[in-house]
Symmetry: C2
Subunit: 459 residues, 2 copies
């Protein structure tokens, strides 16, 4: 054990002696100054959010964002920019959804819903049925087929407010949305309504993918999210009268896959050009808002990493590549395609960093790597104390870079403050006005600093 | 040195052995659960912000907030609630201000301004004059009396965007607002326009106090804040034509002091009732917004500390007192009065904690105490790691509790994330919709946890 520690210390001191850390610290200061004084990320996001807007896979807006991304990368004058073809799913929401609660014949209160991504349509005249409210699948299965058949299942388990990290609370509730339709259909339900995955009480339905795994086409039932205020109303009415009916109508539809693209740009490495550092986020978004936090922020922050390094005349040792991934939200085809091509071309990925947790004040990074590697990287943490972003921990990285995972690549994710993220996640409220310029820029600076450190690490 | 460390370790281990820290950690979990599940702070702030609104000292709204604060404290069933009389200044803004830039006779562009707190009125027909733009007092003095006389001085030094902590950037710019009128008047200027103290570019003028120290009544000149967009516009027009004129009109006015109150509530200590722990914020706000972040947040968080302790049936060892201070913004009379009365009554204050830096995600606490005391308190930091609030450092505390400072009392301030604070500070945009419920509640929980720890410290 002692011997092992000793080796680590030697290995560390080669690349991380105090003189180096001082130089690193000075350069990181320059990175932050550049990001906060001359940053382009906020202007870029303004355009992406307000001039392009929501950009669901398969939409014309997604293709507009591809064109925009390539043009902007061309303008920062890096070594190469190209489009990587990828087939992506196409699901469309169709005409606006409508839903109401009918407490007695003709006596209705409308509530805000949104079809879940991938959901089939209702019949054009809609669905009206009694409601079974449950908190989880166990409760649903205990109620059983006889009671569920012909009904609409209403999943109403809130995100746990006592979890400090809201992503954990999301993880503890999101199976209602992803698997709820399958579980309800198995018991003969005719539709599914899911409480929106958000920590706030408001009038926005929050969409997101649902899956029909294991169900044949004719077994599938329509599924929609209801706003949390709507869920509270429905639940409170059901507690007074379990006989009330719920009506909803949507005409969402799945189409055959379409051709689109990942957008890629890179600065060639000067010493180890064959070792690739990837920075990225996903260019697609849901259709309800303009995708400013999910994941417009990650896109412009990733682009900004290259711009900052260029503007500081930094010559990278390794090849630094930005990837604007296609189709994270409802397929992950962009991430899968990128990794498959990398394998096909025998590319060696040294480090991959994703930003896909919102454009809020960055608090640190999570790393998906070996304990040994993490132990060494964690020493960089001290360089981030002055920026308040010194929380390095073992955890996930990002969905899009996940498929790159092998025994060698170091994966990481930017970890911003999580408190506000699910207020806007997948909802019409995920818009540019929720972005704070400085918070966005601080994330880009932190990412640039980490990329710089990893570029100089283990040379 | 070694001996000293040894003593510290012994002293620390008496109150902070690992068994205690485990118990503390479990109780702090309960505090957070209560704050996040059953918190009242958000509802309270909704009322204070939306039903009462801006509550400048001397206004009827300030007195409404005193009445509300007392009633709410009465309802949480603590040992005593009372009002402490205090004479406070009364300044009123009067009719809405108006300003324009006149690039040629009759050719005007209006810009948003707001009279600075304490400023005198312009003549009722307003002031029109050429403009001298400067970044600081040195530049102004170099330009000299001959050029400044009869002009309007325009202070246009932005807050430094490269400082990570925006309060530092504020500290580096705010003398333009507080002393700008005095410095300009000395050189014969007839009015002052100050770039708003904010890190964002927008259309809101941000008010705040200006002072006329050393100027007789007839030497005083009117002073107003201009929005940052307005400042950029004015500066850019001046760079093309230094001969343009600026016009502004305001009819703000100072009145004689009026009687109002601090609101105080307390739970009596069970073991050391004579040692007082104070938690507080300031109940007054500027008049432009509804004062949700400055300092409605601090008010409801402080009240929530007592509510949480009561709801968990915690019996404090020391007396725990909440103070809703009067008149922080333009006089500090509430804080001064409270400290003066405490001295008069020979009260012993053991610990005082203020929240007056916005209702954003809490990051830690700053302590104004001896290095020795801080070293010991800093060990509590580990208890806050799981909540991401483990940044304890030596620094300021809060304006209202500042007058309590002596060699014995431990002073502290809640330190939330600072990135968004000055977007709203003293402006019409400081409103309830900028508050995130969870962020507010996390601050109240952190404060309660620290109060609990200090209540059990050095018994």
């Amino acid at each position: 054990m002692k011997y092992f520690k000793y080796l680590l210390i030697i290995a560390f001191s080669i690349s991380l002696n105090s003189q180096n850390l001082n130089n690193d610290s000075a350069f990181i200061d320059e990175i932050y100054d550049e990001a906060l004084s001359n940053g382009e990320s906020y202007k870029w996001l303004d355009y992406l959010s307000n001039q392009i807007g929501g950009r669901l896979s398969g939409s014309i807006n997604y293709d507009r964002s591809v064109k925009w991304g390539k043009e902007e990368l061309d303008m920062i004058d890096i070594d190469s920019v190209w489009l990587q073809p990828v087939m992506i799913p196409k699901w469309v929401r169709g005409a606006p959804e409508y839903a109401h609660i009918e407490s007695s014949p003709g006596n209705t209160i409308s509530v805000p819903i949104a079809a879940l991504g991938g959901s089939i349509s209702t019949p054009s005249i809609g669905i009206s049925a009694n409601v079974i409210e449950v908190k989880n699948f166990k409760e649903l299965n205990n109620i059983g087929r006889d009671s569920v058949k012909g009904k609409i299942v209403f999943y109403n388990r809130p995100m746990d407010p006592t979890l400090i990290n809201t992503f954990e609370a999301y993880g503890g509730s999101v199976n209602q949305r992803t698997q709820g339709a399958v579980e309800a259909a198995k018991l003969g339900a005719i539709g599914v309504i899911v409480r929106s995955m958000t920590t706030s009480l408001d009038d926005y339905p929050h969409t997101g993918s649902t899956y029909y795994e294991g169900l044949s086409l004719n077994q599938r039932i329509p599924a929609a999210a209801i706003s949390t205020n709507g869920a509270e109303l429905l639940s409170s009415m059901l507690s007074l009268n379990s006989n009330i009916k719920f009506f909803f109508r949507q005409n969402s539809k799945n189409f055959p896959d379409v051709l689109s693209h990942n957008v890629i740009g890179q600065i060639n490495g000067s010493e180890k050009p064959d070792e690739i550092i990837v920075i990225g986020g996903h260019l697609d978004s849901w259709d309800l808002g303009d995708g400013s936090h999910d994941d417009g922020s990650g896109i412009v922050q990733s682009m900004e990493v290259l711009r900052i390094l260029k503007s500081l005349n930094y010559i990278p040792k390794r090849t630094i590549r930005v990837v604007l991934f296609a189709n994270e939200e409802n397929g992950l085809r962009g991430g899968n395609k990128y990794a498959a091509e990398a394998m096909l071309n025998n590319e060696k990925h040294f480090f991959a960093l994703e930003s896909d947790a919102g454009g809020f004040t960055p608090r640190g990074f999570s790393f998906d790597t070996s304990d040994k590697e993490f132990k060494t990287i964690k020493k960089f943490e001290t360089l981030f104390i002055k920026y308040g972003m010194n929380n390095f921990f073992i955890g996930g990285s990002g969905a899009d870079i996940g498929p790159l995972k092998d025994s060698k690549v170091i994966l990481a994710g930017l970890r911003p403050d999580t408190q506000r993220y699910f207020d806007y996640h997948h909802a019409a409220s995920d818009t540019f006005d929720k972005i704070n310029k400085r918070e966005l820029e601080l994330g880009a600076a932190a990412m640039t600093a980490l990329v710089y450190l990893l570029d100089n690490y283990k040379l």
